[in-house]
């Protein structure tokens, strides 16, 4: 098993360094697909962490994949309910038991951060999160200045214990993936762009749009205040061996969610230095570029050679390869609709086209465009896997 693990790790890392391994590595980001395949409900893998981890390992054993995420159903309700986070809807509570969890963005007037609080956030981001933000996003946490309560205290106690429990379970999962499945844990650490964080968890998309026009200097200053913290968080969870990348989940920082001007003046100048500093420490960053980022490929091309892996979601993977392929490894790009509703022959045909062009000289990792949920066809994912193994040999 260790030999298999080493072979897969070498294959995965070689491709990520934009070089040519023995064959095209396969690294599918399977989320609720694991529940469907392993025979669990989506509610079970969302609430029962052990079942979620077992489902991921069953897929890793049964499919010839080089690397997987230890648990791509990343919201464990045991933790988020212990903390009392208000912004999730769960299968079996607000949603049907076989519906994936949802993130609920509050309306603009109920955003978790008020527009006049930028200075407070900029001055002391960590203090703001503890003293203001947690009291708004956690049902049990009292606002600063209010008397404490049993539920308030329990939120921190249970939340902290649950987080440690989750981290310990994920560490064990990485070891089991290695020893029982011979599979590499695909990513390590976490990063988000400063503007995405402010949009997703503080001001909401509509609030952010208003702020970009009414108080752009404050938005920029807040993004800048976040930068050292996001760098710290990315490195604190990074792979000590410097093999697997830190993943950045890119949400709404691209045109048309923001203008070219806002990307150029706020989004990119407050993300690029973080990526450069991470690379200076010897870690790659996986740009999980959700949606379409074609308008910004030239900006990404400014980054140091091999510093990132660019994951293609809705962009044209062949165009992305033309712009970025000479500097960076590319991953993904197999349309999810094809994997869900196409035929195995259509899947094989599309994979062939990608392997013939994007993967021709190495530097490509096979994966779907976006994370795979329970609509993904087992037969089609098997076709993607087996075809890549057969045809993707260098």
């Amino acid at each position: 098993m260790e030999q298999l693990y080493t072979r897969r790790l070498n294959r995965y890392v070689t491709a990520m360094r934009n070089e040519k391994p023995d064959c095209v590595p396969i690294r599918p980001f399977v989320a609720e697909f694991t529940a469907k395949y392993a025979g669990y409900t989506i509610q079970e893998v969302t609430f029962d962490l052990e079942k979620a981890l077992a489902a991921a390992r069953k897929c890793a054993v049964d499919f010839d994949w080089d690397a997987v995420v230890p648990n791509m159903v990343h919201v464990w309700a045991g933790l988020t309910e212990a903390v009392g986070l208000r912004y999730y809807a769960y299968p079996g509570i607000q949603l049907a038991p076989d519906t994936c969890f949802q993130y609920i963005e509050p309306p603009e007037d109920k955003a978790f951060m008020k527009p006049d609080e930028y200075d407070q956030l900029i001055e002391d981001p960590t203090g703001y999160l503890f003293n203001v933000w947690l009291g708004r996003v956690c049902g049990d946490v009292n606002a600063k200045g209010q008397p404490t309560s049993y539920r308030n205290n329990m939120s921190f106690l249970k939340g902290g214990m649950a987080m440690m429990s989750c981290f310990n379970a994920l560490a064990k999962q990485n070891e089991l993936l290695r020893t029982e499945c011979g599979t590499v844990s695909a990513i390590s650490g976490i990063l988000k762009a400063p503007l995405d964080i402010i949009t997703d968890k503080l001001r909401g998309y509509l609030g952010m749009c208003t702020d970009l026009y009414e108080r752009p200097d404050k938005v920029l200053a807040a993004c800048e205040a976040f930068m050292p913290h996001l760098l710290y968080m990315a490195l604190s969870g990074a792979d000590g061996e410097k093999n697997v990348p830190i993943a950045i989940w890119m949400h709404r920082g691209c045109v048309p969610f923001v203008s070219h001007q806002h990307f150029d003046k706020i989004y990119w100048p407050t993300l690029k230095p973080i990526v450069e500093q991470i690379w200076a420490k010897g870690h790659q960053v996986l740009f999980y570029a959700e949606g379409k980022w074609a308008a910004h490929l030239q900006a990404f091309a400014e980054l140091p050679e091999r510093s990132i892996i660019f994951h293609v979601d809705q962009d044209d993977i062949f165009e992305v390869h033309k712009v970025l392929g000479h500097k960076f490894c590319i991953s993904g790009g197999i349309p999810n609709f094809l994997l869900s509703y196409g035929t195995p022959e259509q899947v094989r045909s599309y994979c062939k086209k990608v392997i013939d062009t994007v993967a021709r000289d190495g530097g490509y990792i096979m994966d779907a465009s976006a994370i795979m949920q329970d609509d993904t066809s087992v037969e089609n994912l098997r076709a993607m896997t087996e075809f890549t193994r057969e045809y993707g040999v260098y």
């Binding site: 990343h74 919201v75 933790l79 988020t80 903390v83 986070l85 001055e123 002391d124 960590t126 203090g127 999160l129 503890f130 003293n131 933000w133 947690l134 996003v137 939340g159 902290g160 987080m163 976490i190 990063l191 988000k192 964080i197 968890k201 050292p228 913290h229 996001l230 760098l231 710290y232 968080m233 604190s236």
Partner: protein
Amino acid sequence: MNEQIKQDRKPGVCIPWEEKLKELPEISGNRQLIRQTWEDTDALGYIYVWYCLLAW
């Protein structure tokens, strides 16, 4: 919250060692050991809130 605390809250820090040190009697033993232990545990609190923000 005083200004000193705000200025000292760097990445990885919730309650700075300098603030904690003021609460302690004179240290007779290994000061660095006490400081490192405080900072390592303090960082867990930092990780807690930033992980809530970033991951969940």
